[in-house]
């Protein structure tokens, strides 16, 4: 590089030429290098998939690569200065600008996430980064920035979070607790539901033994142990009882275990899903008990029917027996219906009498007495006895004529010893003259023996010429008492 300057004398005449020669080799080289570096930067900028931009040290953006313009559809140059803010999502703009201003002020690296509008109007998340370049003396040269599209990662993240939330919600709805047991430390990491299930305070993790010691000793064989977990030899399904740590309540727990194994099949991690199945277990037990109870009841009914049939068929002609057996089974059936409606616990005395006399003319029968519940055995005995009295009356007594009447009354009376007694009476009137039966049939036995025995009382039948009179004198019935069933 040379500087030529005329050298003038005092009169202004050119007296010579001043020539100054400066060696500029270094500068030329530097300029060339800079141009080369700039070219490389531009080439690289256009080659990468990211948005690339530059800014003056004061924060004024002055260049964007083609990708930015292609992506945003904005006219070249419109993003310069503060123009870039126009394609940043309004909700993210303030944060992006503030951070940018802060970085420009202190020269720190810029790093912020924001959404940028694509030419089609959709918004995609980007991560914006920029560094300030300086010359050898440390003087700021310019900012070089990039925006990288992270929308896909964001979506995967969102989907993962959504799926995680859905899983948590459905687990909570289904009452499922989940856990992971670290095989190296034998510690349990669980959801809040896990600790709740065992009555423990919610915690991040706890030794597996903290939970194992709550399992009832007799169910200890059902659960996994430190050893069986390390070997990966754990039954996938286990059901056991625990004593809750907080209130000592016994609960049934169903546990499903899964192992994550390495290529050799050795367990790496183990996961468990647990559910409190106490309600199901109790229902199952109740169901089993009811089935057993029902079977017992059916056998008893069959035994009773078998006894009635065998007694009815004794010493009588087959046509009479067929009719009588039917009547007796119907009386039994009607009493069963009444008992079924109370789940076989009891029946009201007047309902038993009512159903046993339903086949007769209602106007001829008057029933009265205080409400009293009687147990199943007494209800059946009374139904059978009333059926015998009724069918007998229909053949020979008050019900055999239209003007005949039957009064069925009962009352609660105080006995001499202070106990309450039931006095139940069947009184016929208006019928033909009554003659005592010549022999005692099974009907008589049902009235005198079975009724008396099942009520733990006494039964008397008087064949008064005015009408049959039957009296039951028994302890006042209490349902579920020791004398019943």
């Amino acid at each position: 590089d040379f500087i030529y300057q005329p050298v003038r004398d005092a009169h202004g005449e050119v007296s010579g030429i001043f020539v100054e020669g400066v060696d500029v080799t270094g500068r030329i080289h530097a300029e060339r290098a800079l141009q080369e570096s700039e070219l490389q930067f531009r080439t690289l900028s256009e080659a990468v998939p990211n948005h690339v931009w530059t800014s003056l040290p004061d924060g004024t953006l002055d260049w964007f690569n083609d990708r930015v313009y292609q992506y945003s559809g904005v006219t070249r140059g419109d993003l310069d200065g503060q123009g870039w803010a126009a394609i940043v999502h309004p909700d993210d703009r303030a944060l992006a600008s503030e951070r940018w201003a802060a970085c420009v002020a202190n020269g720190e690296n810029y790093d912020v996430e924001f959404r940028i509008r694509r030419a089609d109007g959709s918004w995609r998340w980007h991560i914006g980064r920029a560094v300030l370049t300086r010359d050898a003396s440390g003087k700021p040269l310019r900012w070089i920035g990039t925006n990288t599209d992270i929308e896909d990662q964001k979506q995967v993240h969102r989907q993962l979070a959504d799926s995680e939330r859905r899983l948590r919600l459905s687990q909570r709805a289904a009452g499922i607790a989940s856990m992971e047991i670290d095989l190296a430390t034998d510690c349990i990491v669980g959801t809040a539901e896990l600790w709740d299930m065992f009555g423990l305070p919610v915690q991040d993790s706890a030794p597996a033994t903290d939970i194992e010691k709550l399992v009832l000793p007799e169910d200890g064989a059902a659960i996994s142990t430190t050893q069986s977990r390390r070997e990966g030899a754990v039954a996938p399904e286990a059901v056991y009882r625990i004593r809750r740590a907080d209130n000592g309540e016994i609960r049934w727990i169903a546990c499903h275990m899964e192992f994550l194994r390495d290529q050799t099949g050795s367990p790496l991690r183990t996961f468990g899903a647990l559910r409190d199945v106490t309600v199901e277990k109790e229902a199952e037990e109740r169901q089993l008990m009811l089935t057993h109870e029902l079977e017992h009841r059916i056998k008893n009914i069959l035994a009773t029917v078998s006894a009635i049939a065998s007694q009815t068929l004794r010493a009588t002609d087959i046509d009479t027996a067929r009719k009588t057996l039917n009547e007796r089974l119907q009386a039994l059936g009607a009493a069963h219906s009444l008992l079924s409606s109370t789940h076989w616990t009891s029946a009201l005395l007047h309902e038993v009498v009512g159903s046993a006399t339903a086949a007769f003319v209602a106007a001829q029968i008057a029933v009265s007495g205080p409400p009293v519940r009687i147990g199943p055995k007494r209800a059946l005995a009374l139904a059978l006895a009333v059926n015998e009295l009724g069918t007998n009356s229909l053949k020979y007594g008050a019900l055999s004529v239209p003007e005949g009447q039957i009064a069925i009354n009962w009352s609660r009376t105080l006995a001499d010893d202070g106990s309450d007694r039931l006095i139940w009476m069947w009184r016929e009137s208006g019928g033909p003259d009554v003659l005592p039966p010549t022999r005692s049939g099974f009907g008589g036995i049902l009235i005198e023996k079975v009724l008396a025995a099942d009520f733990a009382g006494e039964v008397g039948i008087k064949f008064d010429p005015d009408g049959v009179e039957c009296t039951l004198d028994a302890p006042w019935p209490t349902v579920g008492g020791a004398s019943e069933e």
Binding site: I308, Q311, V450, A453, S483, E485
Partner: protein, 122 residues
Amino acid sequence: MICQKAVLVVEDETLIRMTAADAIRDTGLEVFEAANAQQAIAILEERDDIGLLFTDIDMPGHMNGMELSFVVSDRWPPISTVIASGKHSPGADDMPAEASFYGKPYDADGVAQRICAMLAPA
């Protein structure tokens, strides 16, 4: 067949007890009836002609028919035992030695014949 010795029928269901007792009586045996274990023991303590106990298992009171059968085989070893139940089906190990079992409902006349045969002099 002429049978000797009496039978004690223990059953809380009056109708079923009566039917069983009647069927056994029809074979010529004498029959005593009890509605629970307590009554049964009272009869056994009073008489020495009972040769066989025919008892139901489920009965009210503090002793059921199975417990009664063990008490009887212990206190009155010569008395044979026949057990009936609609609820339980005990195995040979659950009952006193040589006791037999009938599930309910049973054929009263058939059971009566077997009981009579058991009491017949060898």
